[in-house]
Symmetry: C2
Subunit: 298 residues, 2 copies
């Protein structure tokens, strides 16, 4: 069982003729309501790949009976949810104009309750963005910890980062997050990697780099017809973790992550085009050769 | 039976720490989902005041079974709705920062279908904002017409304004809308009033002016503790029209409108604090004296 801690969110993705300035209004030409939230995206990816997954999120009064709840039910995602009365499930409103410029309004909503919730002790947990303090407490109590600061990297204090990294076995980050962590900690990328033992740094369309056992492997991205890069990172993590619990090597796990992400970016939305394990395998073999059977892990 | 033509909409009213610039994001600190849309607000006001009302709106797939539908059912609003598959019910997202500055994103959604819908012939109709062409066709076919261009005043061509005004018995507008209509028509305020016979121009917190039978009456606003001015104009129209079908004089109708609006602005939302006829009467008598029985209309 893989546990995922972090946001379940509803994304309103809108196109507008132009972005407004202060005290202006604009027209929405198209709006789609998509299921999102980093943790929920990862859990959905794992569920479709066929692994057991439990999602730990905070949701509002609007969640019970919603389409999103039905969708999670369909996927078979186990849920340890804090339902917070009088709040909304976290919701993001993203507006993009014809020039590709964006404005985002994010409602933290029910996720405020992370700060005061009791942290679970978990055998294998991936922590997506959520309250830093809560994540630190989960990491401290859990056995195997995968950490992913995401855009919340700016909210972590030096002490929180030191605490959570000392309790983490894997670190996921993009180059901006790596840079910010190094700044906050007053350290180098090399020292950061040493703190966790295994690190996977993603480089948008340029693939990812695995740092493990003192060596470094670059995993190239798979060229696809890109529809929407949103959700690429989350699905990469879903693929990595699913392969990891099946016992594959870290490099094979990164490749599974890469293949999983290549499906998701072909369609708009983070949970709209997730591959099954067999679909993943088929594309894997075309790009990376046959996925070798896992060796027993030491 | 009073018929109201125009938008039924869902309003997401959010407070943000600061309004974003392009390619920035911001946090929503509070979000309320309120029932709105100018025509629906007026219909709700009329229903609570105790008059029979039919609302003509375009709604999306999301309306059937929604909280908003249940609310209209509770109020007893008759509905002649065009349900437009594959669209949303018109939705507005309003973001206000601590300095009071705003950004609004409006999704026309299902209301696009007004343009191609068949216009009904109605005995007594008030036209709130909606498609100008559709409104012109309704005005042409209907008997007694009350017209309210609202913020859509910018979309009316000279020909459309001339057409709809020539078929209107009452014109409602604020000073910006009056100015815009005069510009589009190349005429004066006095000439504009003569085109319809009876005009009511609102002046925000400063009350309203009735132009009828060649004379002019100023109706002062009622001083109240203002919570939210949104919906003041719609509830004024609801009060006016309810009194009008009961046979009261135009001046008494304006006063009923003024009293109705004074309730609505005491609470946030356009349909959250509507008075019954008896509640309206009570406040009316305190401010304007006893509401005289209607005289037979000539």
């Amino acid at each position: 069982m893989i546990h995922i801690v972090g946001h379940t969110a509803v994304d309103h993705i809108s196109r507008v003729a132009h972005l407004p300035k202060e005290n202006q209004s604009t027209h929405i030409t198209e709006r789609r309501i998509l299921f999102g939230g980093g943790a929920a995206n990862i859990a959905a990816g794992i569920a479709v790949l066929g692994e057991d997954v439990t999602l730990h999120s905070c949701v509002g009064d609007d969640f019970a009976g919603s389409e999103y709840e039905k969708w999670m039910e369909t996927l078979g995602i186990s849920r340890q949810f804090f339902t917070v009365p009088g709040t909304h499930t976290p919701t993001a409103f993203m507006f993009t104009d014809d020039a590709g410029d964006q404005m985002t309004f994010f409602e933290w909503g029910a996720s405020k309750a992370f700060a005061t919730s009791e942290a679970p002790a978990l055998p294998l947990v991936h922590m997506a963005t959520a309250d830093p303090e809560f994540n630190c407490r989960v990491a401290e109590k859990s056995e195997f910890v995968s950490f992913d600061p995401g855009q919340d990297v700016f909210w972590y204090t030096k002490e929180q980062l030191e605490s959570i990294l000392s309790n983490s076995d894997i670190l996921f980050a993009n180059k901006h997050e790596v840079q910010k962590m190094c700044e906050t900690l007053g350290t180098t990328k090399e020292a950061l990697i040493k703190m966790v033992g295994m690190a996977i740094f993603t480089m948008s369309g340029d693939g990812s780099t695995l740092y493990a056992g003192g060596s470094e492997h670059v995993i190239p991205a798979i060229p696809v017809t890109l529809a929407d890069p949103t959700g690429a990172g989350d699905s990469y993590r879903a693929g990595f973790l699913s392969a990891y619990v099946r016992g594959y090597s870290p490099l094979a796990c990164c490749r599974v992550g890469t293949v999983t992400a290549s499906y998701v970016v072909e369609h708009t939305g983070c949970q709209t085009h997730l591959p099954t394990w067999d679909q993943m395998l088929e594309r894997y073999s075309r790009h990376f050769g046959t996925l070798e059977q896992p060796a027993p892990r030491g």
